[in-house]
Symmetry: C2
Subunit: 304 residues, 2 copies
């Protein structure tokens, strides 16, 4: 069964500090790693948390503000020093190709692995990755610069066998894979048994939506409707609601409203401004709108 494990590498706004890291997350779906955003110091966080970094094949950059991207060039270079064999695909806003290539060129870095950079510029959601495991769709966000969130939805490939029913029909195990793939079975007596008699109804596909940075607006809520887990930025508390609007960020209360309106199962808050001494107030304020709130923190993991 597919397992989503999300590890927060960094979830603080603006600038790296000794006690906090800028935005980066590692989403592990059945041991495949998807890196989301890459602030300065991300590669050190990955090592600190003992991830095998060469297993990252896909990187998703939401926008080109430094606290979401300044660690990318270092990671790309380190991959080369590690003699990475496999291709790396980076998805990010239009301009990211120039951003990366200018630095590689001026530092005379010759990568020894294939690097593919896919630039995004659409203003509506689009599917940017669709492999055997997962579909990744962009979530257009509203910020001071072109910005996308990313929604990861499990690909349900195989059905779960109803062993009791299969044994009742006397079907041999060599047919199990065909049944898992959704196939019907013709018994030796010629009787056709439809697949739904031999399998359990599929669980709904698991999903995760990453939304940072984003100002409060209602249009985008339809994009993330019913997602299992929503990570949404909450840079500010309500006392700074005017500043949130001005800088095109979200407060904890606004994030709670979004989670409620989108009917998600769980809301994880993050991208906290470093002006606050404790992050507990973010949970309290969001919970005035929506109960199932959790707080991101550097090094923390969430599984579902």
């Amino acid at each position: 069964m597919t397992k989503f494990k999300l590890t927060i590498l960094g979830c603080y706004a603006a600038t790296p500090r000794t006690i906090s890291n800028p935005s980066a997350q590692l989403l592990d779906i059945n041991n495949q790693y998807y890196l989301i955003d890459c602030g300065e110091g991300t590669q050190v966080q990955l090592r600190k948390l003992k991830f095998k970094i060469n297993r990252i094949d896909h990187v998703f950059i939401s926008h080109l503000h430094g606290d979401h991207v300044f660690g990318l060039i270092g990671l790309i270079s380190t991959f080369s020093l590690l003699n990475r064999p496999n291709k790396l695909t980076v998805f990010g806003p239009k301009g990211i190709k120039l951003f990366i290539e200018t630095q590689l060129e001026l530092s005379q870095s010759h990568l020894n692995y294939p690097l593919e950079i896919i630039e995004l510029s659409a203003k509506s959601p689009e599917i940017i990755l669709d492999n055997a495991q997962v579909t990744v769709k962009t979530i257009p966000l509203k910020h001071r610069i072109y910005c996308n969130g990313f929604q990861f939805t499990e690909k349900i490939n195989l059905k779960k066998l109803n062993i009791e029913a299969i044994e009742k029909y006397g079907i041999e195990s060599c047919y199990y894979y065909k049944i898992k793939q959704g196939g019907d079975i013709t018994l030796e007596n010629g009787q056709l048994v439809k697949n739904d008699k031999l399998t359990f109804p599929s669980e709904p596909a698991k999903s995760y939506a990453y939304c940072s940075d984003n100002m409060y607006h209602e249009k985008f809520i339809s994009y993330i409707k019913g997602v299992d887990v929503l990570y949404h930025e909450s840079t500010f508390l309500e006392s700074e609601v005017a500043l949130a609007k001005k800088t095109m960020h979200t407060t904890a209360i606004q994030a709670g409203k979004i989670a409620k309106a989108a009917a998600v199962k769980k809301l994880i808050l993050g991208h906290y401004s470093t002006r606050y001494k404790s992050i507990e107030a973010f949970r309290e304020e969001a919970q005035t709108q929506f109960e199932a709130v959790d707080l991101a923190d550097d090094g923390k993991s969430f599984s579902w």
Copy 2:
């Protein structure tokens, strides 16, 4: 009296790790900060060691390999968030302007302080900074990419008063500054007293030379002749001398030979490859050539 205090922020080659940082140093000359190189994570190292980072007005970048420069854009951006008032001057190889400006432009960063970028391309030593405190001269190095070391030499502005002699002549304290500046004094009886009768001979100017990255070659030794403290890279031990040559780096023994030939007072080794478990062997090998060897390490300081 001028004091040089050098703090190693990072002194390991290649890639940042949890236990080691790429190249960066802070040279404090009478509370003025000069930052030399700026690998990823330098701003966090500065904070960890409790430096007031807004006091850095000058940054010197040796070359555009990532382990010497990937932390610069983050530092430049952080200075803006800190509402830095004063101008920042960055010295670095031709191309560094495009390197910085491409990233600022694509991340739509508008700095709120003046940033001056001075590109270097000379192949012989040149004076690039000459203020009331210090003269900074480039040291052309030999590496896979255009690369300079930097030599900092104290500016001796004021002489040290010989109070005993001054009192003997009955000279009033209002003349002391004139004497410190090197002026002669005419006594009330018309007698001229030359400055050298009223001051002590000046101590030799203090100096520091940073040389990284650099392959072993003899031509450059004349540039650093007699310097007080030489930081020279020693990426490898002698067992990797062929690799050192191939990658245009230096071994500890070669660094010891350079220190001896340049007749420096002290050699500090650094830019160690992370392949070695301990750095003590670097000292041992260098000391077969030159006695006064010290080892750089992250967070360590040297004063003279």
